[in-house]
């Protein structure tokens, strides 16, 4: 695997749209070609080399390419967008849309990310060591196709609207989240190890949400079913199962109505 290191030397005045920072575009390119790749600062088209010092060459394919992003990237969006393979390591904290529509490979953020991290994600592994913003693993505005596959792990806290319109895959938030978890969810798994204030599983059709901590206000559309012994992300213990959102339509499979499942740790 070849490693390309890009180091922020000249931070943008406006926000930089850097969706070309991806193993798929870096693959097969020399450092100079990578520096010439386009980016947008505001409405002006510019190049990555204007902001980043690039060292190392891309591998033959995306899978053979590892990207290390150093320096202050707090004004850089779309890192790892649509990546299908390879690795990206971001040493600090990027702005929005990190790993958006990611399809494969590994993306590690050592700092925190802003909103829309991993939206519409289809596959791969996305790890945030710090916190993240709103709309983690959610759908793009207006879309009904949220996260569909892959795994997202946030070691810190998340904002609101985690897993909005989620259809598949797994989101694990080791800290707390803000309101709205799994709204309009139709599949996949969300594990919140901390607390959630309210609006958990609103208009949820299918899928599974685990909450280890407290839920201040439970949605009225959830009904207690039973207590169950479960193993969830390395923890074994007793959970209360709720079915919901009862105000939403639910499909029937093998004669049984399928509900969204909300498990709360006892």
């Amino acid at each position: 695997m070849e490693t390309v290191t890009i180091t922020m030397k000249n931070p943008p005045g406006l926000f930089l749209e850097a969706d070309n920072v991806s193993p798929d575009t870096f693959a097969g390119k020399k450092a100079a070609d990578i520096a010439a790749l386009h980016a947008f600062e505001g409405r002006e088209q510019t190049s990555l080399g204007k902001y980043f010092e690039v060292s190392g060459n891309g591998g033959a394919t995306a899978a053979d390419t590892r990207i290390v992003v150093k320096g202050d990237v707090s004004r850089v969006k779309y890192i790892g967008m649509k990546m299908t393979a390879g690795e990206v390591v971001i040493e600090n904290s990027p702005d929005m849309y990190t790993g958006a529509w990611m399809q494969g490979g590994k993306l590690l953020v050592k700092g925190s990310t802003n909103a829309f991290t991993g939206i519409g994600m289809k596959g791969g592994e996305l790890v945030i060591e710090g916190d993240t913003g709103n709309y983690l693993g959610a759908a793009y505005r207006g879309d009904w196709r949220g996260m569909q596959g892959g795994i997202i792990r946030v070691r810190g806290n998340a904002g609101s609207d985690t897993g909005y319109f989620m259809n598949g895959g797994t989101i694990i938030v080791e800290g707390n989240t803000d309101v709205h978890v799994g709204t309009h969810m139709e599949g996949g798994t969300i594990i919140i190890k901390g607390n959630v204030p309210s609006k958990v599983g609103g208009q949820m059709v299918e899928g599974t949400i685990y909450v280890f901590g407290t839920i201040d206000v439970m949605m009225p559309g959830f009904k207690f079913v039973k207590d169950e012994e479960m193993e969830v992300d390395g923890y074994k213990g007793l959970f209360s199962l709720f079915h919901g959102d009862l105000g939403e339509r639910h499909p029937k499979r093998k004669g049984q109505v399928v509900y969204g499942k909300l498990y709360q740790k006892i």
Binding site: R43, Q45, A139, R141, G142, D143, W144
Partner: protein, 567 residues
């Protein structure tokens, strides 16, 4: 003004009966002429196809429901934007493009005129504001009449002359072009939570049937002598087994005779026939009835149709057929917008994904193409996608590919997930018919222009007609792979719009000189109708009558088509 000579192209012009002869086309002062001076700009069209500008007879491209689609579908814009260039503005959107993109994309494909197919009269100003912002193409809009309280009341009492006077007033007030009918009676029934699924289902309260509404509107249309015929989206759209309702509706034209000064010899235009040619009684035994419907259309010479071809894309459905959109959202569970337009109509919007992996979508794809391929008179069948309902209009080149190449259809059928089941439910696999360029010119130019009563201006290359000329990189003497057909019709080599080059090598070079078409029908003074209008505004409308009319400044280069219906 600059003169142009488009030299040595293979010309296809149904108006003059030219079937691919090598000929020159001369344009001066915005019109086709017999010859130009030696100073004329020469466009070398050798080895290329030359046709008149194409005419879109039915698309939803301007107004409140289109804009609601844009508004509530930001995801339709994702990754579609192109930055501004020297001659064009920033443009984006896929199934519901911005107004600018609408004008640019039609022009790039060689379309120079397009009709907005459903204008809610109360929101006519919004429709005209968007048309004003749509560059290049000439446009007009059809106000909807099929669920209008005035119309239903006059027709219930058999008052054709009063209905006609009201229609003339509304065309003038809304700056509309033709009588559009959407799910006659059914949209009004929807405000009572009901629908009209046959031509004989009575409309609640008004106690009139869809058959009576359609017949009365055809009579009023011919009483006025409007340029276009009544233009109808029939009842029971999209339902298995609806082809019998379609035939019942089409048969209503048998009793009506055309009366107009525009050379139009038809009295009913049946739109997006694909959605109305379904057999079976559920989605399991859903099948094509294109043959049954087209056998009738081919025989009954006073009707025109458009296809409503399914393009197999993710799109945004939108129609004044409010109950249908509710039905659709119950089927696909995607977001739904709905509005009731006071005394006039209603509307709904729902996104839809026509997937090549879903049997029903595959069958719908086949039916749209079958309708075109079963056509005997190509001056009466027009290619549409009912944009954006069966797919975006930017897919016309792909539909042309499927119609011109049996090989292209076979490739598509072979890669369907349920091709065997699709073949059982349709005729498409057994059809080897390929549409010729002359037939294509009939279906996209001369035919729709004639049906719209605009045969003197559009759809042909005869001297005196508008200087709308298109050159395609397509040599009819050579064999083409299917994708080369699509490519050639996607981006014209040269488009002249009323004497102004608007597209060169597939790129926009000018915002053109668009016009807005509307119909000004003069009728005898009718104090009763004027009293009824004032009365309904006072009692029911949410706005004052003085704020209703679309004033002239809403229209870009207005062109009124005048009709004298005084007796």
């Amino acid at each position: 003004m600059t003169e142009y000579l488009i030299k040595n192209g293979f010309v296809f012009d149904p108006v003059q009966g030219i079937k691919g002869d090598k000929a020159d086309v001369a344009v001066k002062d915005g019109r086709i002429v017999t010859g130009v001076s030696s100073g004329a700009k020469v466009i070398d069209a050798a080895g290329k196809t030359v046709m008149a500008g194409a005419v879109e007879i039915h698309a939803h491209i301007a107004g409140p429901k289109v804009n609601e689609g844009r508004n509530y579908r930001p995801e339709d814009k994702l990754f579609t934007y192109t930055p501004k260039s020297r001659q064009s503005r920033m443009a984006g959107g896929f199934s519901i493009p911005t107004t600018f993109k609408t004008g640019y994309e039609y022009a790039r494909m060689g379309y120079t005129t397009a009709m907005e197919a459903a204008m809610p009269p109360l929101y006519a100003r919004h429709v005209h504001e968007e048309m004003r912002d749509t560059p290049i193409i000439d446009e007009g809009a059809y106000p909807v009449f099929g669920n209008n309280w005035f119309v239903m009341e006059y027709l219930k009492n058999g008052e054709i002359e009063n209905a006609a006077a009201y229609i003339a007033w509304l065309l003038r007030a809304s700056k509309g072009y033709a009588i559009k009918v959407v799910n006659p009676g059914g949209t009004e029934a929807w405000s009572w939570g009901l629908n009209c699924l046959t031509v004989n289902d009575p409309v609640p309260y008004f106690d009139i049937t869809p058959a009576e509404i359609m017949t009365g509107l055809m009579q009023a249309n011919e009483f006025l002598g409007l340029p276009h015929s009544m233009h109808v989206h029939q009842n029971s759209l999209g339902n298995p087994g609806n082809y019998t309702v379609t035939l019942d509706s089409l048969k209503l034209a048998e009793k009506i005779k055309p009366n107009n000064k525009f050379g139009r010899d038809t009295v009913l235009h049946s739109t997006h026939l694909q959605f109305h040619s379904y057999g079976g009684d559920n989605w399991g035994n859903f099948e094509s009835k294109s043959k049954e419907v087209m056998d009738y259309v081919n025989r009954q010479k006073n009707i025109t149709i458009d296809t409503g071809c399914v393009t197999l894309d993710e799109t945004t459905t939108m129609t004044a057929d409010g109950p249908f959109e509710h039905h659709l959202t119950e089927l696909n569970h995607l977001k739904w917008a709905n509005i009731d337009v006071e005394l006039e109509t209603g509307s709904g919007v729902v996104p839809y994904v026509y997937s090549p992996d879903i049997k029903v979508c595959e069958i719908q794809w086949a039916i749209g193409l079958e309708i075109a391929l079963l056509t005997k008179d190509h001056m009466r069948t027009f290619i549409t996608t009912d944009h954006p309902n069966a797919g975006p209009f930017i897919r016309y080149p792909r539909i042309i590919k499927w119609l011109m190449s049996a090989e292209a259809r076979k490739e598509r059928i072979d890669s369907f997930k349920h091709s065997a089941k699709m073949i059982d439910a349709t005729l498409i696999a057994g059809m080897d018919r390929e549409i010729s360029l002359y037939e294509l010119a009939q279906m996209t130019r001369a035919g729709p222009a004639k049906a719209l009563g605009l045969a003197n201006l559009y759809g042909g290359l005869a001297p005196g007609m508008d200087g709308d000329v298109v050159v395609y990189n397509f040599n009819p003497e050579k064999d083409h792979k299917p994708d080369e057909i699509e490519k050639a019709f996607s981006a014209a080599a040269f488009v002249l719009k009323r004497g102004t080059p608007v597209v060169v090598d597939g790129e926009i070079v000018s915002n053109g000189n668009k016009r807005t078409l509307w119909v000004d029908a003069k009728t005898d003074e009718n104090p009763q109708v004027m009293r009824d209008i004032r009365d309904k505004f006072l009692r029911y409308y949410s706005i004052n009558m003085n704020n209703y009319e679309v004033a002239g400044h809403f229209l870009t280069n207005p062109m009124a088509i005048e009709v004298d219906a005084t007796r």
